[in-house]
Point group: C2
Chain length 275, copies 2
DNA sequence: GTTAGATATTAACAAAATATTAATAAGAGG
DNA sequence: CCTCTTATTAATATTTTGTTAATATCTAAC
């Protein structure tokens, strides 16, 4: 029989959340940076690449597998974003960097322990600004986008020692907005459903590049237009034409009186983000 | 002392989620439609408007307040989207309509009972397609966007009897992507933090209008270009020029041999979504 | 009937944005 | 000083978008 309450306060005094089935939540972070030969200890090319931070699990479940940094939400007073920041600080000592909520993943089978819903965050940083050492179980992996069409996405992650190959099938879900359901075809190459988080994050970054200034979160203070263009090209995975690129970017940056020399060709002007 | 496990299976056998603090989750749905005089029982104008579905709470907390349809996630096997669909079916008997995850709201104080994290979904529908009656505690509210600048958003919701005035302060959070934190300035005009969900949803819809065909989810099968243009104008909250609009939309629709007459002016051709 | 009012539809032109090609600039390194 | 490489910009073609205005065809009022 339902008890009749006379006020919100009276109702709340009686309420016990343990009367209901509950669950756990985590916040996972996709930390993306641009790497080049200076910040890369195994490649000998001059190419820029995207790289993401992975952590090796030293406990069950998925013991020994790589995964995104993440951790359980403390339900007593902590927000998911605070949780994400706490984890990020622990792994990289980074604070005050660009962070945005990406998506909430909730496949009931995504965690073998119990029902765990995960809200993922995307964070962008310029790796070179990382002065402190990152946690010893964490490592940067270069990202190579092998394939990205309407049927599938294929990504290879590599740190020079380990190589992780991710393959995700796309199933058209909604024609009007060209949305797809992503179905992992990986057999525990990476822990949990973090392959889906990575793919969703790379796509979000690619989209935001076109209509925001998000890119400057992963640039150093001073950069040449050539460097900036390479970053765009790496993220978009295609060549851009110089004059077109310069027109688009012109209003966002301002020329400094510094120059970058010693590169074996005509020196280029250094720019900085205007704003 | 930490126990040493030899396999994933052995570890899982010992794992008890109740050893940790847990929480509850809900899925909330922002159902948006376009209303006009035919589907509106109190306005006598010919204008199209956006309208959203609200539900009156008949239990504590927030007893008697309006809120978005939503419900608790069943942690045993139900996904958040399944939960959203279940609630939507209960309130409107609608199935198979456009649904997309909007954002996860997790302010620890958003629910006075206990820690409840809510993942919100946006759903679009053409109200006229609703053949079944909606639940008796549910009601369509017309949406009037009074103000939307870099400092604040103001929205009025009205069903002819009740009027709900929402005011939300914006605080710039991130310059590069022009993102804002939304701070509710409402004193329980609407239950929970559903004012934030509404504002986030309206903004998402406005953005998606520009680069997707999302609008056709709220259109009838056959429509005139004038009607379609009005829907754009209502959502974007501004006038559009005819030839420009027609050029943009031309590739997305196809002319049928039907005409719409009886409107007191030159008849217009009926179009349908191509795809 | 005739005319006014309303929106539909398209033509025509102007302006702005974008794409493309190619010319010129200037340090590094032989 | 010659070649390589990338930087930078000029010049032009093409496409897209903005604007104005002309014409079409219905309903309703007179």
């Amino acid at each position: 029989m339902k008890k009749e309450y006379k006020s919100e306060a009276e109702f709340l005094k009686d309420y016990n959340p343990k009367d209901f089935e509950q669950l756990s939540m985590t916040a996972d972070i996709l930390l993306i940076s641009i790497s080049d030969e200076e910040t890369n200890n195994y490649r000998k090319t001059n190419d820029k690449m995207m790289s993401i931070l992975l952590v090796k699990r030293d406990d069950y479940p998925f013991k020994g597998k790589w995964c995104l940094p993440g951790g359980f939400l403390n339900p007593v007073g902590e927000t998911l974003e605070e949780c994400a920041k706490r984890v990020l600080k622990k792994e990289t000592n980074l604070q005050d960097i660009y962070l945005e909520q990406l998506y909430t993943f909730d496949n009931p089978k995504r965690d073998p322990r119990t029902r765990v819903v995960s809200t993922s965050y995307m964070a962008l940083v310029d790796k070179n600004k990382l002065t402190d050492m990152i946690n010893e179980n964490a490592c940067w992996f270069d990202v190579v986008l092998l394939e990205d069409n309407k049927k599938e996405v294929e990504v290879t992650l590599s740190n020079g020692i380990d190589t992780i190959h991710l393959k995700i099938k796309k199933v058209l879900r909604e024609k009007t907005t060209d949305r797809y359901d992503f179905i992992s075809e990986n057999n525990n190459e990476i822990a949990f459903d973090h392959d889906l988080v990575i793919v969703a994050g790379l796509e979000r970054l690619r989209n935001k590049l076109n209509y925001t200034d998000i890119v400057f979160n992963m640039m150093p203070k001073y950069f040449t237009l050539g460097e900036l263009q390479k970053v765009y090209e790496v993220i978009l995975n295609k060549k851009l034409l110089d004059p077109a690129f310069r027109r688009i970017i012109a209003g966002k940056v301002e020329k400094t009186n510094k120059m970058k020399t010693g590169e074996g060709h005509r020196p280029s002007a250094l720019f900085k983000y205007k704003g």
